[in-house]
């Protein structure tokens, strides 16, 4: 499973949003360069003002967000259950934001591989984290963009006036997965349950065969195509003629940037987690910058023996949870919060789950930009979900190709490349890890935190997911200069 990343566009709304012409003017100030650019920018700003804050729709903000450290599966979280991790994220959020529990109207979590005992993991985690039992909670699933779906569900609830305060998050625990009895065995057990007499029971048992005992694992492959995601990524890389070396280099970049961000303390969304019976976990443990030589020694993981996707240039199985606090702007202001970002235009698109399974960001990025009335150049911070190096590089190549745009996207010209210096600067899923259900919130918080740190206005998040679906979102940074101060 790989998620796609969300694209976040952050507009620097200097104050609030109600779009008076005053604000439009302020917008114009920002791009300082040449006059023609200025005009263009002015135009786009005017547009963005129109789209980014929509008339008659409430402004929705992310107050803050946290996540547990993301750990390699089978390490310190291995004895937990998913709701334990989710609870840790919720507690962390409560602690970070000091939001009164009874203010929260609703809780939504995303997850992919469901633990059967806690199929509504949102509710179990919320109760355990001490939220009011009067606060409803539900769980959503949309492969690797499940927590994105949780966030946009929250946006919908707030925008429609149903709620003011929603907690959205996601969790994944790959250390333990539900392995089932085979269908035949299950059927036999169910029949046995219903059998009333000994004779009936014996006759059912007599049908038992040894192969009934072979277990059934959760599918690792795409249901519609029976192809695993790594295999698809390898084919995608080949389709775009991306070499093994390029992929390894990109993976190394991700790990190096993540390491740097970790060392500099930039990953401020991470909250420590005291694991019962173990030490307190304080940081991600999958960040391992290696050398190209060492990476070159690995064998292909999916297409053997000549493929290019390896363990080193793929995201790894990860345990982790994340949560964000989303509010209607006026509610946040009334409560005295200084929100981090406005959640603006978002969209989901989907395409062929076979050959374009991981190519979604290429499709979603221009669409969400157009919806927001922005261009690639306006964006200050890109956070793309890194399922595989090859997938990121293929998307970059596709965005840079007129041929692809014309033949597959129905566009006249290419989408254009996001500048690499603005791209996943604090590492990505390849290095930080990728707990399927939790990555979406991490991407949004990374973008929001980067905007603050780097002083940008617009962020763009994009994430791909199994089933050929993609999520992308534009958002606007709320800066210290705003009236909230």
């Amino acid at each position: 499973f790989s998620d796609f990343r969300m694209i976040s566009l952050l507009t620097y709304t200097l104050k609030n949003l109600p779009n008076t012409s005053k604000w439009a003017l302020r917008f114009c100030m920002r791009p300082l360069s040449s006059s023609s650019q200025l005009q263009a920018a002015a135009a786009s700003q005017t547009k963005s003002k129109k789209t980014l804050a929509k008339p008659n729709i409430r402004n929705i903000v992310v107050v803050d967000g946290v996540r547990t450290p993301f750990l390699l599966s089978g390490t310190s979280y291995k004895d937990l259950m998913p709701h334990d991790l989710a609870r840790a994220a919720l507690s962390g959020l409560l602690h970070r934001t000091s939001v009164p529990k009874d203010v929260v109207d609703y809780i939504i979590f995303g997850t992919v591989i469901q633990e059967v005992k806690t199929s509504n993991v949102a509710r179990e985690a919320a109760l355990g984290a001490g939220f009011s039992d009067k606060t409803p909670a539900h769980t959503v699933t949309m492969a690797c963009i499940s927590s994105n779906q949780a966030m946009t569900t929250a946006v919908g609830l707030i925008a429609s006036g149903q709620c003011d305060v929603v907690v959205a998050g996601g969790v994944e625990l790959m250390s333990d997965i539900p392995i089932r009895h085979s269908r035949k065995m299950r059927k036999m057990m169910l029949d046995l349950n219903k059998a009333k007499t000994l004779a009936q029971r014996l006759s059912i048992i007599s049908k038992f065969r040894l192969n009934f005992l072979s277990p059934e694992l959760p599918a690792v492959s795409e249901f519609s195509t029976s192809e695993t995601m790594g295999h698809s990524a390898d084919r995608l890389a080949a389709a775009f003629a991306i070499s093994r070396e390029e992929q390894d280099e990109y993976a190394l970049r991700s790990h190096s940037l993540a390491k740097k961000a970790q060392d500099e303390g930039l990953l401020s969304d991470v909250v420590p987690f005291k694991v019962p019976g173990r030490d307190t976990v304080t940081q991600d443990n999958g960040i391992r910058p290696s050398s190209l030589d060492q990476m070159a020694k690995l064998k292909p993981a999916f297409i053997k023996p000549y493929g290019t996707v390896t363990a080193a240039n793929s995201s790894f199985l990860t345990d982790g949870a994340s949560a964000v606090l989303i509010m209607a702007e006026e509610k946040a202001l009334a409560m005295g919060y200084k929100p981090k970002a406005y959640l603006r235009d978002f969209m989901y698109v989907s395409q062929d789950p076979k050959d374009q399974l991981l190519l979604g960001p290429t499709y979603a990025t221009p669409k969400v930009l157009e919806k927001a009335g922005l261009t690639m150049n306006d964006i200050d911070v890109f956070e793309f979900h890194e399922a595989f190096s090859g997938q990121i590089l293929a998307n970059l190549k596709a965005m840079d190709s007129d041929w692809f745009a014309q033949n597959y996207m129905g566009r006249k010209a290419k989408v254009g490349l996001p500048p690499l210096e603005k791209f996943n600067n604090w590492g990505g899923s390849l290095s930080l890890g990728h707990p399927f259900g939790a990555t979406g919130c991490r991407l949004v918080m990374a973008a929001a935190n980067r905007l603050r740190k780097e002083g940008g206005q617009y962020g763009l998040v994009a994430a791909c997911a199994a089933g050929g679906q993609v999520f992308s979102i534009c958002f606007t940074c709320v800066t210290d200069k705003t009236s909230y101060l």
Binding site: F223, S224, T225, S226, H231, R235, L236, A238, A239, F240, A241, I303, Y306, D352, K354, D355, Q356, L359, A394, K397, A398, S401, W403, F404, N407, Y408
Partner: protein, 770 residues
């Protein structure tokens, strides 16, 4: 609503249906002309092969000009030799990759025109020998050659590939490896008989060579026929097909390097079962027993009518007897086979089939996107199945929910059987099944581009549904009638727009039988015909287009033969004996069994109708027999009883002893001078053939080719005879006329040869196929 069709059952075409596997197309003579005058500068102006060097790997790219496929023609052969000689003599080159840059085709086989233009077996022998020499050199090459296979790799193409040191194939649906020579009545003449058994084991090799079965890439990998697979790629920065071939080449180059550097070994790890099998087969006694068993089985199946399979078994023994280089005997057998009547007949069928897969009426003005089928019986559901699985949106309408449900289930089962055979995924099945909309009313018919009715064979009913449909369908919508005998002109009498009415006669079971007989009336417009042919081709059918008339072509040919069947039964020949006489003549299904399959009621209905139209020529047996059978409920397979008893799950069918009294009551004396086994066979066949030729004479048939294809693919006429017209050409019109005259003397007008046949007998130079 069942089986209102005169088509024989599925096994009817077991043998000839394999013909469809051959994807190779007949190559036209285009390439030949250039060559003679470019010979001197052949080095610079190769037309079939382009060759370059990447590092120390030679990349040899094949792409024959002006053809959809690559075939092993003489020019390709000599250009390939030239290039290989350069590769072998160059010190810079250490290995080579052999690849085709033609989409969907590696090499589809030998150039059939080359074979057909040979007039003596010596010429064919020569061709085979040259190919063998080349492949042997290739096999012994010290510089490894990697065959990179994308698309069809058949016949000579496969023989070339298995002479290389390594094979990499794309896992594409179009990539098929096979030895279809047997289907053309010849044998693999360039080494497959020797190399295949070594490579994939004797059982698998015989299976490939004796059935002509095409092997898909993933199975080929499991069998050891290819060493690596490459997945087809999706969109990138160029068209997927183009990039896939490029990628295949890149992968092949790395393997070629690896082989040259001895980092990769071409040997394959064999599984335990495989090892045991090959050990067992290394014991001469076991091997001989297996050959004997295979031969017995082949003899039983071919009834001695097809020489090629036995010869394939024979020549496969050569390497074991003499070890290697048994060029000459093998090539000589190849040459001899190519000259047999059977081979000529089969090759003729193959060419005919290719022709009947083209739309000579051109593209229709409006492509059919929405189809509607009236009647969810066996035929209707079958038509729906072959439409939805090609992505055609189809409405299936019936009048009652149970009838509709049965039809929907039939479609689902047809698709699901493919899932069980792993030719479809369950997901693909679901997507196809969602193209089917079952309903009881005419909702949505206003958007239909074509309606095919498959309701019961009753003129009034057909009139009613036509009127009902015409009340809702748009102006451009074609109304096609699936009927085996009702004249289309009569159905069209109630139509407001007879130019849009056409006949589409499918054969049961629709998903197995390849033939579609399209019937045009004088009023049918050309665009309507083009549209019907287009839909038929999309449904994967082989199509003949005939003129309207009682029984059209297929039913009309079959009916006099059926009449003779009844007479022969009345004369005291038992159903079992009759079946064995007909199958040993080459019919896939015995004549008595055929009546059971068709349905006794249907047979009687048709016989009566056509009897009225054609009078004495269609007489012979007494319809009373069919009438009595119907009154006793012996309707054939569908009612469980006919001449035989049919039981679910029982393989060997027994004679229906209750038929004895019926047969006894209608017994007629036989005429000894026309009742030998051979006479009985010829009485059946000559009536069939005579009627077919009359159809051509009367213009019901446009071409002899369509007559042959219709007879073989629709009615199971012996494929080894090539269809009625090939049969007359190959066996001589005079001999057939002589037979007919002899039977005419005994039975009268039913055997009077038609004028066209007499013309051919009078002039030995006159042939249906020049």
């Amino acid at each position: 609503r069942v089986g209102h069709d005169l088509a024989p059952e599925q096994q009817a075409t077991n043998r000839n249906s394999v013909l469809k596997i051959i994807n190779c197309e007949i190559r036209f003579l285009t390439g030949y002309i250039c060559r003679s005058f470019t010979r001197s500068s052949a080095l610079l102006t190769r037309t079939h092969i382009n060759y370059g060097v990447r590092g120390d790997v030679a990349v040899i790219r094949i792409n024959s000009p002006n053809s959809k496929v690559n075939t092993l023609s003489q020019e390709l052969h000599s250009e390939f030799m030239e290039v290989m000689n350069e590769v072998w003599s160059s010190s810079q080159i250490r290995s080579a990759v052999l690849i085709s840059t033609k989409p969907g085709c590696f090499i589809a086989g030998a150039d059939l025109n080359m074979l057909n233009s040979c007039t003596t077996s010596q010429e064919v022998t020569q061709i085979s020998q040259e190919a063998q020499k080349m492949f042997e050199k290739l096999e012994k090459s010290t510089k490894p050659v990697v065959a990179a296979i994308n698309g069809s790799c058949l016949g000579g193409g496969l023989e070339l590939a298995i002479s290389c040191q390594y094979r990499i194939a794309t896992k594409d649906k179009k990539t098929v490896l096979g030895s279809p020579e047997v289907l053309l009545g010849i044998l693999p003449g360039a080494g497959a008989t020797q190399r295949l058994p070594k490579m994939v084991g004797i059982p698998a090799a015989f299976d490939m060579m004796l059935t002509g079965r095409g092997i898909r890439a993933d199975r080929a990998k499991k069998m050891g026929l290819v060493d690596q697979l490459v997945e087809p790629l999706g969109p990138g920065v160029k068209p997927p097909e183009e990039r896939t071939i490029e990628y295949l080449e890149e992968v092949a180059i790395t393997f070629a390097k690896g082989l040259a550097d001895k980092k990769i070994t071409p040997k394959r790890d064999k599984g335990l079962v495989e090892k045991l099998t090959s050990y067992a087969l290394s014991i001469p006694f076991v091997r001989q027993q297996i050959y004997k068993k295979v031969e017995e089985k082949v003899r039983k199946q071919t009834k001695g009518l097809y020489p090629a399979p036995l010869k394939i078994i024979d020549v496969s023994l050569y390497p074991i007897l003499q070890h290697l280089s048994c060029f000459f005997p093998l090539s000589r057998t190849f040459g001899e086979l190519a000259m047999t009547k059977e081979s000529k007949a089969l090759m003729g069928l193959y060419r005919g089939q290719t022709q009947c897969k083209k739309n000579k009426f051109g593209a229709p003005q409006k492509e059919v996107k929405q189809l509607a089928v009236l009647g969810a019986g066996l035929m209707g559901a079958g038509i729906a199945q072959v439409s939805v699985d090609k992505g055609l949106q189809t409405i299936l309408k019936d009048t009652t929910l149970p009838a509709l449900g049965r039809g929907q289930q039939q479609v689902f089962k047809g698709l699901n059987d493919k899932v069980k055979k792993k030719t479809l995924t369950s997901f693909e099945r679901d997507a196809m099944f969602s193209n089917l909309i079952g309903q009881l009313d005419y909702r949505g018919f206003e958007k239909a581009d074509m309606v095919i009715e498959a309701v019961f064979e009753d003129l009034n009913l057909k009139h009613r549904v036509l009127k009902e449909a015409e009340a809702v369908i748009p102006d451009h919508c074609v109304f096609a009638s699936n009927t085996s005998a009702l004249p289309i002109g009569e159905i069209a009498t109630v139509s407001k727009r007879p130019e849009k009415v056409i006949g589409m006669h499918y054969f049961s079971p629709v998903d197995k039988m390849q033939l579609l007989e399209i019937i045009t009336t004088e009023k049918t417009s050309k665009d309507t015909t083009a549209s019907a042919v287009d839909v038929g081709l999309r449904q994967g059918k082989v199509i003949i287009v005939v003129k309207d008339g009682p029984g059209f072509y297929t039913t009309r040919c079959l009916t006099p033969m059926m009449s003779e069947v009844i007479r022969i039964l009345q004369e005291g020949v038992g159903p079992k004996k009759l079946d064995s006489l007909t199958t040993s003549f080459g019919f896939p299904v015995g004549a008595a069994t055929l009546v059971d399959e068709v349905g006794v009621d249907v047979a009687k209905h048709v016989a009566e109708n056509l009897g009225k139209e054609f009078g004495e020529r269609f007489a012979g047996g007494s319809l009373e027999m069919l009438q009595q059978m119907i009154s006793k409920g012996f309707l054939g397979r569908k009612s469980g009883k006919g001449f035989y008893i049919y039981q679910e799950g029982v393989k060997n069918k027994n004679l229906n002893s209750d038929m004895d009294s019926i047969l006894a009551s209608l017994k007629m004396p036989s005429q000894p001078d026309v009742s030998s086994d051979e006479d009985i066979q010829y009485r059946l066949v000559t009536r069939f053939v005579n009627e077919a030729i009359l159809c051509l004479q009367e213009g019901v048939l446009a071409t002899p080719t369509e007559g042959d294809i219709g007879a073989v693919f629709g009615l199971g006429f012996p494929p080894c005879l090539g269809g009625p017209f090939h049969f007359v050409d190959l066996y001589g019109a005079q001999k057939i006329v002589d037979r007919l005259r002899k039977y005419e003397a005994a039975y009268g007008k039913q055997f009077t040869p038609c004028q066209l046949l007499v013309d051919h007998a009078n002039n030995p130079n006159k042939k249906f196929y020049q």
